[in-house]
């Protein structure tokens, strides 16, 4: 536990030791705002809620979250510090989890800084704050899902650009697996059960369910088990790739 905490603190501190954190947060907030107000036509919608705002989250995360996760392991492997980290008395799970949690908390910080949106809708109208809270929780879980995928894929390479591109691609598949772009590929020849299983992997399906204001246990379990599975995979990849 001590070791987990030490890794977590170092990683989180690492984001703020460089301009990365500030650049990321500024761009995150700026694009969130721009998308909501301009692309989303927030004012024209004439509704005092954050549905439009949350609708853009999966698509923004698709590019912004891999930017956080790409360095998690690729950087360690490039500089060789992975040898230092894993020869310290740190269990592998603590290293994997510590890094992931640091990235997750960092994305949580960025997400929580969108609070002016919440203030705005409360000033303009009388939104259902429970639904908004659910949206934030769903968004946070979804960020965790993207991060777990990204951290595993960051471990396969020492090149951050490769880690980024591969993460975006895989995250894209997980985002749209419920949409026709993926289901059409399987429809017609795969059994209906396979089809619905693939569709059930979609981030969008589960995220949209939560943002409607209902935190269903199944959606929570979906994200939790997705995160756990990718982190286990991450541990396996890190362990396998040590020699290379």
């Amino acid at each position: 536990m001590n070791e987990l905490l030490a890794v977590f603190r170092r990683e989180l501190g690492g984001y703020f030791a460089t301009p990365l954190a500030f650049i990321f947060i500024v761009i995150f907030l700026f694009t969130m705002g721009a998308f909501t107000f301009y692309l989303g036509g927030y004012y024209e919608s004439d509704q005092a809620d954050l549905t439009i705002f949350f609708n853009f989250h999966p698509w923004l995360y698709l590019f912004l979250i891999p930017a956080i996760s790409m360095r998690l392991w690729a950087e360690e492997r490039r500089t060789g510090s992975i040898e230092l980290l894993l020869s310290l008395p740190v269990p592998l799970w603590a290293a994997v989890l510590g890094k992931f949690l640091a990235a997750w908390v960092f994305s949580g910080i960025a997400l929580s800084l969108t609070f002016p949106m919440w203030l705005t809708v409360n000033y303009l109208g009388d939104p259902d704050n429970g639904v908004i809270l659910a949206g934030y929780i769903g968004s946070f879980f979804m960020a965790g899902g993207y991060l777990a995928i990204g951290s595993c894929l960051s471990a396969i390479t020492r090149n951050q650009v490769i880690a980024f591109v591969v993460s975006v691609s895989v995250c894209f598949l997980f985002t749209v697996s419920g949409l026709p772009i993926v289901t059409d590929f399987f429809a017609g020849w795969a059994p209906q059960q396979v089809l619905s299983t693939i569709a059930s992997f979609s981030f969008l399906t589960h995220f949209n369910a939560i943002t409607r204001g209902v935190i269903d246990l199944r959606d929570v379990i979906y994200f939790a088990s997705l995160i756990a599975a990718w982190l286990v995979a991450c541990g396996i990849v890190v362990d396998m790739k040590k020699a290379g």
Binding site: N2, R9, A17, T79, G80, S81, E83, L84, L88, P89
Partner: protein, 327 residues
């Protein structure tokens, strides 16, 4: 404190480390020698628990590195090759992180950091990001990290690589100071280093141990062991060489002209015997003949020559060099 038995590492069909075995006890400084790619770093990575061995065992202070990895790792201070660190952290931040991972509490950690910083003379750069430090300082940050928890076992992969002569001297002094109470393994391909700080040297080649002994014992394997070297000023004369060759007990002579000087190396018939008599004889003749002597000494042996003979794996067996050495 370190016991290695038949340690083996295979990467696919390639065997990087092949049944290496040795042990290091407290007070010993083991110099790990070998050409690049001989398996030095791989062996160290296995001892420190970074890589899992394909076969064999390594125990550190009684803890098996495979079955009780963390317990073994707590006893080890490790400086990996190139002294990797987290470059965006300051030296102090980095050492604080290491102290936390090593489970040192607040006051203890402070003391440990102060001690390590003092030993490695990092005081002036403590608040600078590690990325901005010079190579020498970065190496010292790595050293400070390795000795932070005052480990009984210290493993360092090329601790002086890339340092200037002054820094090398400092690092060696530091290792020397710690040697009495620790078991230390250093890898290097700087042979003078072995002579300077190691109590024992282990030469490995292609993953196998090819020599294990004190630096003195290794040097005794040299062709030059107990040879006498005489350097004269002025031009080489055939007469001088002939005169030297006629000394009783001389097997052969090598003549190496270098600028205004000439060095004669005299190989005795019985290389294992002490060279003092031979040195005396040469000195007497030099006085009698009134030669302009610049230097005269008995050679302890040349480690680099022993190293080359033992590790020229592709050519050694065919060239006959090792055969002659053994005879």
């Amino acid at each position: 404190m370190i016991v290695i038995e038949d340690l083996t590492k295979r990467f696919g069909p390639f065997t990087a480390v092949d049944r290496i075995g040795f042990s290091v006890s407290r007070g010993e400084v083991l110099g790990f020698l070998g050409p690049n790619g001989a398996g030095k770093s791989t062996t160290m990575k296995m001892i420190t628990g970074f890589l899992a061995p394909s076969a064999g065992a390594a125990r550190v202070c009684g803890h098996d590195i495979v079955t009780s990895t963390l317990a073994a790792q707590r006893e080890i201070g490790y400086l990996p090759e190139g002294a990797p660190a987290y470059g965006d952290m300051t030296a102090r931040g980095f050492l604080t992180f290491i102290a936390r991972v090593r489970r040192l509490s607040g006051a203890e950690a402070g003391k440990a950091i102060d001690r390590a910083v003092e030993a490695t003379e990092l005081g002036g750069v403590l608040e600078q990001p590690i990325d901005t430090l010079s190579k020498g300082f970065r190496r010292r940050v790595g050293l400070a990290q390795a000795i932070l928890h005052n480990p009984p076992v210290l493993i360092m992969d090329e601790p002086t690589d890339g340092l200037d002569p002054n820094q090398k001297f400092e690092v060696r002094k530091l290792i020397g100071r710690m040697a009495a109470e620790k078991a230390i393994v250093i890898s290097t391909h700087i042979l003078e280093e072995v002579d300077a700080i190691c109590t024992r040297a282990l030469i490995i080649d292609r993953g196998r141990v090819v020599a294990d002994g004190t630096p003195g014992a290794l040097m005794a394997r040299s062709r030059y062991h107990n040879a006498v070297s005489l350097t004269l000023g002025g031009q080489t004369t055939v007469a001088v060489a002939d005169r030297l060759r006629n000394i009783p007990g001389i097997a052969s002579i090598e003549v190496t002209p270098r600028g205004e000087e000439t060095t004669f190396t005299l190989f005795p018939e019985h290389a294992r015997e002490s060279d003092t008599l031979l040195v005396d004889a040469v000195a007497r003749i030099a006085r009698e003949e009134n030669w302009p002597v610049r230097a005269l000494y008995g050679e302890p042996g040349r480690l680099d020559e022993v190293f080359r003979n033992l590790t020229r794996s592709d050519t050694a067996s065919s060239s006959g060099a090792t055969g002659k050495d053994a005879a």
